[in-house]
Amino acid sequence: MKNSVRSRLPIAAVAAVALILGLSACGSSDSGTTAEGTGKRIVSNPANGKVTLTIGSKNFTEQIVLGEIYSQGLEAAGYKIKKDLNLGSETVALQALKAGQISGYPEYASTALTSFFGVDPEKVPANAQAAYAQANGDFKKQNLEAFPPTPFASANAVGTLKSTAQKLGLTDISDLKGKSQDLTLYGSPECRQRIDCLLGLQENYGLQFKSFTPVDIALRYEVLDKGQADLSILFTTDAQLAAQKNKYVILNDDKHVFPAGNVLFVTDPSTVSKAGPDYEKTITEVQKGLTIPVMQELDARVDIDKQTPEQVASDYLKEDGFVK
């Protein structure tokens, strides 16, 4: 599902406009980032100046923000940095990495396992460390290497309006048992045939819904707002969740239908040995503050407040004390 989300159906851009109009009154008011100075100040190492790293990312908000955070962090550590933050898909990104066009890029563990290594979505470990170990093992077979995962996981989720959740007493997805047959569910067209979406909700939770209606992912909040959908498939790091904390809730996936999508920075061993220890150290350090609320907040600053990913990444690094 992550793949489909990020493939950016053309309608998305257009509907986003309508969506943003609807959200215009509510920018991200309060800062969701962690307290000042939790991160260690990055020390510039002159020896790193000889090394040029090209940081890649796929071409949607969250990836570009991550690419900027890694780039600016590594720059602060003294590396020469080039950026290629507009790679079309995970396939393109992996090819670019293998061809040496980029030194590394952030990839979701779940996407890597399902898309690159043929793992069935339901077999993707729910535990972030286990998913990392498995993905890194597979990457190593291809002479690549992944650094440890981010705290946040980006995944599909069942979302609803807070008012609906309160009325029906919903906290976990399991709470839908006995109620789902009266509720409408909206999701992307391919959700119907995905084990990590509708099929998993039917199989693992034993839920049957009143109806499932396919819609473009850009409309996933729209259908809740319009009252057409009782439940809608959302994404855990959606900017809207940060911007309207009191409007939407995500139901807890207590039976693990939606695989963990923690981000791994994927690179290759020769770059690692060339770049020295500061490479991995800086990357794992700067991503430590990236919890789900923080990532939502950063995505919201770009998607809703219309700041540039570069600015958002720079603010994050400053707010967390990595750079002055």
């Binding site: 159906l9 309608i11 257009v14 339901e122 909206y186 067209p189 990590d196 099929l199 396919p214 057409q228």
Partner: protein, 250 residues
């Protein structure tokens, strides 16, 4: 697969062997059910059952939208053409209509009135109106004035002139507008799954589920449907054209 291969062998011999590469896989997808790539063994996709269901839906959406565009565009075009007035307006609407980005329109309407068949029908009808309006106007206004004068001289009323002289003479032009509208609509109905209606476009949009063979199968099926509609309308046009005109064109 084997059993299916034998069943279909008269029509598509051993296409599942991949002799035709992706095209072979696409035909295989159309004729034989197979596991969804993302279903963990719980869902099958493709095969004539799913193809049939989605094709019927695509046809339904197309016919509804076409009907709506004819109902709106034809009377206006015929009236303006008969009066010989409003040429600027008819052509401006026709041309401006073509410039509306359909995805933007559908997204806008989804935001305004929600998703579903009604929204989709209206949005697709917007695609059908311009060619029908323009061609009806042009077809009728360009009918030989001598023929119209002769009809008036015979004592026909305005309505009779439209029905018995102008419309029959304008049939080829009007129908070519209808055919253009149909192709526009049936091709664009592939985006319907994004607003809650599952058409053949699902094969094209959900590549993760259906794979490249599903995408290609969807494209082939939509093209075949467009072709079939085009041929049927050409047949209808021939039947509607007055025998005298048919002869005159040979």
């Amino acid at each position: 697969m084997e059993a299916g291969g034998e069943r279909m062998s008269g029509l598509v011999p051993h296409l599942s062997l991949g002799a035709l590469g992706l095209f072979g896989d696409a035909f295989d997808f159309i004729f034989h059910q197979q596991p969804a790539k993302t279903g963990g063994g719980l869902a099958t996709v493709g095969g004539l059952d799913q193809v049939g269901t989605l094709a019927v839906e695509q046809l339904k959406v197309t016919v509804l939208a076409l009907g709506l565009s004819i109902a709106i565009a034809f009377p206006i075009g015929a009236y303006l053409g008969h009066r010989g007035a409003g040429e600027g307006m008819a052509l401006a609407i026709g041309n401006a209509g073509r410039a509306i980005p359909e995805l933007a329109l559908i997204a806008f309407m989804a935001a305004a009135i929600g998703v579903g068949l009604g929204n989709l029908t209206m949005a697709l009808a917007v695609l059908g109106i311009p060619p029908i309006l323009t061609n009806t106007y042009v077809g009728i206004s360009q009918v030989d004035r001598n023929a119209v004068e002769a009809a008036r001289g015979m004592g026909m009323t305005g309505g009779e002139v439209i029905r018995r002289v102008e419309l029959p003479l304008a049939v080829p032009t009007i129908m070519s507008g209808v055919r253009t509208a149909t192709i526009n609509i049936v091709a664009t109905a592939t985006i319907a799954p994004l607003v809650g209606v599952l058409t053949l476009g699902d094969f094209i949009l959900s590549r993760n589920v259906y794979g490249d063979e599903g995408v290609l199968a969807g494209a082939i099926l939509v093209a075949l449907m467009a072709l079939a509609l085009e041929l049927s309308l050409a047949g209808i046009q021939w039947l509607m054209t007055s025998p005298g005109l048919r002869l005159g064109r040979e």
